[in-house]
Symmetry: C3
Subunit: 159 residues, 3 copies
């Protein structure tokens, strides 16, 4: 917002008389699944990062740093995760690898496609120092070519 400037700065104050200025925070998380595909509920990690940041109002970006993985928001329910696995295999089957052109060095074309369906990132509102979630929203890391260290980025900006 803009506020009047009269030679000397009269800043915006909140209810406690505190001045509001933008802040940014960054954290990397690393995951290594023991299967090629997996869904991990990473909400506790994001909650901890937000608490660590001290940010009360703003936006929290969480994205896969690897292009064969996803970060998405859905339900923490094992039946649904089985449904996701079966459905994604139907939309973009892993095998035969020969059906794909992305085979020069890798056999993970299907993982790039699956990640496109599920998405790279989520942006979550931060309100009163908490992830501003509906009742069932949880943040998941979707791994589609695992069994090695892969990173997720958390970036929070706000005040």
């Amino acid at each position: 917002m803009t506020i009047p400037f009269h030679g000397r700065f009269v800043p915006q104050k909140n209810k406690k008389g505190m001045v509001i200025i933008m802040k940014s925070y960054r954290k990397e998380l690393t995951f290594n699944t023991n299967t090629r595909r997996a869904f991990l509920n990473i909400t506790p990690h994001i909650d901890a990062a937000l608490a660590d940041s001290g940010i009360k109002e703003g936006l929290c970006l969480v994205n896969a740093m690897n292009i064969t993985a996803s970060v998405f928001i859905n339900d923490h329910e094992s039946g649904l995760h089985s449904d996701f696995e079966r459905w994604l295999e139907k939309l973009a089957p892993e095998k035969p690898h020969s059906q794909y052109d992305h085979n020069g060095y890798e056999d993970n074309a299907d993982a790039h496609l699956k990640r496109s369906v599920m998405g790279r990132e989520v942006v979550v509102a931060v309100t009163n120092g908490k992830l501003d979630f509906g009742t069932w929203e949880q943040i998941f890391y979707g791994e589609f070519d695992g069994m090695r260290d892969k990173r997720v980025l958390v970036k929070i900006i706000g005040e």
Copy 2:
């Protein structure tokens, strides 16, 4: 941005001599469709929230708070909406419910899958106090398991 600090604060000023400070705004919208699936153009609601916020430059997040619904940007054209409905039913059919594992308490696995295709959220630029849209961009609420109250979150940060 950063500006020099010489003991006393000399803030950045805009053309009108106003100091620029970050602001945040939050609003919940509630929708209740009278069919299981529906697409609602919610752009007027988001325009109103933005005007209410007073924010001129920043980012506007609009997300479904429920995990069987979407917020997405596309065309306000009824033929296209029929195409979306038919296409999503082909990719992730509602019935038979028995094809899904997510059936302990609910029969809406297909809604979780459809929402994954269409996306949870949009982030829209705010420029000169307006949603910074291309010619045909409109924001839609995509309901995939309706006939009850469900919420959408609007969070705007900026100045």
Copy 3:
């Protein structure tokens, strides 16, 4: 963040003693592909916009302004792009146009569907004045109804 206010403003300072204030930046890019469908690596354009903005910490939104195009992050590898093309044609075939209802003025319903799979936008963290990317992340413009000028919006907010 909030800081104590004691009558006179004592602003937050970074290591160089500079006060931190929010900044915003906007740029439009225009692309015209010579085929109906194409994938363009637009990362150099976004790097240049970020450098031009002078923003060091924040969020960078890149979105298609047209609803038959995508902006997404994936791998700069031609075999994978062939896989994307073939896969999207399988999920949402262009022809026959008669299979779609969105035909009053246009024959591009498939482009709206393909763009829904690939996504409208990406939000990228900005850290130390750079796009905060994993090793292989690159930003692509996905065109699904080209051979005319179409725009992409870059909006960066931060400090």
